[in-house]
């Protein structure tokens, strides 16, 4: 089967193309070298009228990249070229096969190559879909029919080898259709085969799905293959509709996989590319579990973030306990806000809040201005304060002094307040997210009992809160 034979062609061709543009990417180079002995970038430059000759030319120049390389059928060559175009799903205009010269190193190509290399095995099937659908309008029908799956497999292999070299193929979901189906005896590098076998079990399901789905578009591909030798002009227009078809089909799985494509975290890959490319069809178990895993990773990431926020969470290990801590912390913060609001309500109402600015020093004013304006609208609180009533004045004082817990903070607040006044000018710059910590830090500079006071305050908050509830 020419498709079977051409299995190597995509390999070498693909690698070849990659090589020429991947120079900046050392990883890809190493990956490619595993497949292609000596790719010659310039050799592909000539647009080939006859795919076969093209292939030969490239093959000859390449010097039989892989030992198994035979004379690949032109369609596969084309397909690879088209596949190349499909390689970059991000590229709206697929590069037709005959425009091989466009494959010359270009800035965008290396970028695409880098992206492609970043695709790990998981994304490969989706990627493969791109390959199958987009590339190959030029393929012959029979080649397309058979190669629908085989090319997929081939591309899988090449991609797999790619990814292997780059990613080490940890949990590559790339199916190993070759080994599984046995159709294509791709005598690729031994390690490649080994890797593929590992992935075969995983990717099998996906691959078969893809293959079956690809059959529909095979005819299209076949036609394109046939016309490759004859019509070069038609390639581009054909490729584009195919590209759109592929994107359409691949996008089916986009939703399923878009979220799960953080697998490229290993490599510097912008997430959006993954969302575009990782179109995966169907909900094969693999993709599901992969998405689950990615999701779990995200969740654990966020948990770590929360751990940093919540003090004392570093010691505990375990999701439930940590969640407990987080919940307690949020609750305590909310209670603090409540308590503080009550405390502010009990501030001496005799204080005419409208005159507060005049009471404050310039520094304090600067420090308090952002405080007052930003997150604490004082219009409502201000109205509460200028309540001048001797009786009321006594009450808050009593309220404050009656609760023994609040007496301590009241006393310790003096050093706190002193620190504030002393560092008033500096405080202005400190009203940031770390306000609390900063204030405590600032106080530490001046006072020694700050931790004690803050703790006492916190303790008093609980007690005062209980008191208030009573």
């Amino acid at each position: 089967m020419n498709c079977g034979e051409s299995s190597e062609l995509p390999h070498c061709f693909l690698n070849l193309n990659w090589d020429q543009s991947i120079d900046p990417n050392s990883q890809l180079d190493s990956a490619l070298n595993s497949f292609v002995s000596s790719p010659a970038p310039n050799r592909i430059s000539q647009p080939e009228i006859s795919p076969q000759s093209h292939y030969v030319g490239t093959n000859g120049t390449i010097g039989t990249s892989t030992g198994s390389l035979t004379s690949p059928p032109p369609e596969l060559n084309l397909s690879m070229g088209g596949g190349r175009a499909g390689l970059m799903p991000m590229l709206p205009n697929l590069v037709p096969m005959n425009h091989i010269d466009q494959f010359q190193p270009d800035s965008g190509f290396s970028e695409r190559a880098a992206r492609l290399s970043c695709f790990d095995g998981r994304n490969y099937p989706g990627f493969m879909t791109q390959f199958d659908l987009t590339s190959i309008k030029d393929q012959r029908p029979e080649a397309g029919l058979l190669g629908g799956g085989q090319v997929t497999q081939l591309l899988d292999k090449s991609q797999l080898g790619f990814n292997n070299a780059v990613n080490g193929l940890d949990e590559s979901s790339v199916s190993d259709p070759v080994s599984g189906s046995g159709q294509i005896g791709l005598p690729g590098p031994s390690d490649n085969g080994v890797r593929k076998r590992k992935a075969s079990a995983k990717g099998k399901g996906k691959e078969t799905q893809k293959v079956s789905e690809d059959k529909g578009s095979d005819t299209k591909r076949c036609k394109s293959v046939e016309s490759y030798g004859t019509q070069e002009e038609g390639i581009k227009p054909k490729s584009e509709p195919n590209g759109s078809v592929s994107t359409g089909t691949t996008e089916k799985g986009n939703g399923a996989k878009s979220k799960g494509k953080d697998t490229g975290t290993k490599l510097p890959e912008p997430p959006k590319d993954y969302i575009h490319v990782r179109a995966r069809r169907g909900e094969a178990t693999d993709s599901h579990s992969l998405a689950e895993r990615v999701r779990r990773e995200k969740i654990s990431q966020r948990m770590k973030l929360l751990q940093d926020l919540v003090p004392g969470c570093n010691k505990v290990v375990g999701k439930a306990v940590m969640l407990d801590e987080i919940i307690n912390y949020v609750q305590s913060l909310q209670r603090q806000v409540e308590f503080l609001s009550m405390k502010l309500a009990t501030v001496n109402p005799q204080l005419d809040f409208n005159n507060l600015p005049s009471l404050l020093t310039k520094d304090m004013q600067q420090a308090c201005a952002p405080l007052l304006n930003s997150s604490f609208p004082l219009d409502t609180s201000g109205s509460a304060l200028p309540f001048t009533n001797s009786q009321q004045q006594a009450n808050p004082l009593h309220f404050v002094s009656s609760s023994p817990s609040s007496v301590d903070p009241h006393n310790t607040m003096h050093p706190f307040f002193n620190a504030i006044t002393d560092a008033a000018s500096q405080l202005g710059a400190f009203w940031h997210d770390d306000l609390q910590n900063v204030v405590q830090m600032d106080i530490r500079q001046n006072q020694e009992e700050i931790p004690v006071s803050s703790q006492a305050f916190n303790g008093s908050i609980q007690q005062a809160h209980m008191k208030m509830e009573l």
Partner: protein
């Protein structure tokens, strides 16, 4: 002052409590406005708006997402341990404003941001309380 007196409901609550509630409300409003972009802030503003406490109309697109209580398929197998985690997730959902409509990842994100905002709020209020305490106790001499 007169407004305060008139607004006070002496029957049910003391004046101080009433004031405290208003202050707390002000704090919430400030909190909700400070982090406008976050989901929890939007949910908080919606709640305040519903209570007609939010003085200004804020353009809040009503979240049409259906409530996503922690889906059981959070993990493949729901063992007892996972049940505990689920319970805590639900508790956290209740704590964070707007949390009922968030899934796990989002919930964690919003929780982190909410915690930060709460910390900031507490710091501000605490400093303010101390400041005012200082003013009150020292009769403004220290200033």
């Amino acid at each position: 002052m007169e407004n305060l007196l008139s607004n006070a409901s002496p029957h049910s609550e003391t004046l101080i409590e009433e004031r405290g509630k208003r202050i707390k409300l002000a704090a919430e409003v400030g909190l909700a406005r400070s982090s406008g972009g976050r989901l929890w802030a939007r949910a908080l503003r919606r709640r305040l708006h519903r209570q007609r406490k939010l003085p200004q109309q804020t353009c809040i697109a009503k979240n049409s997402t259906p409530p996503l209580m922690k889906e059981v398929p959070l993990v493949a197998d729901v063992t007892e341990e996972k049940e505990e985690v689920q319970d805590r997730m639900r508790a956290l959902q209740r704590l964070v404003p707007g949390g009922e409509e968030m899934e796990v990842e989002r919930l964690f994100e919003e929780t982190a941001d909410y915690i930060e905002a709460l910390q900031e709020q507490v710091g501000v209020m605490r400093a303010l309380a101390c400041l005012l305490d200082g003013i009150e106790s020292t009769d403004g001499d220290k200033l």
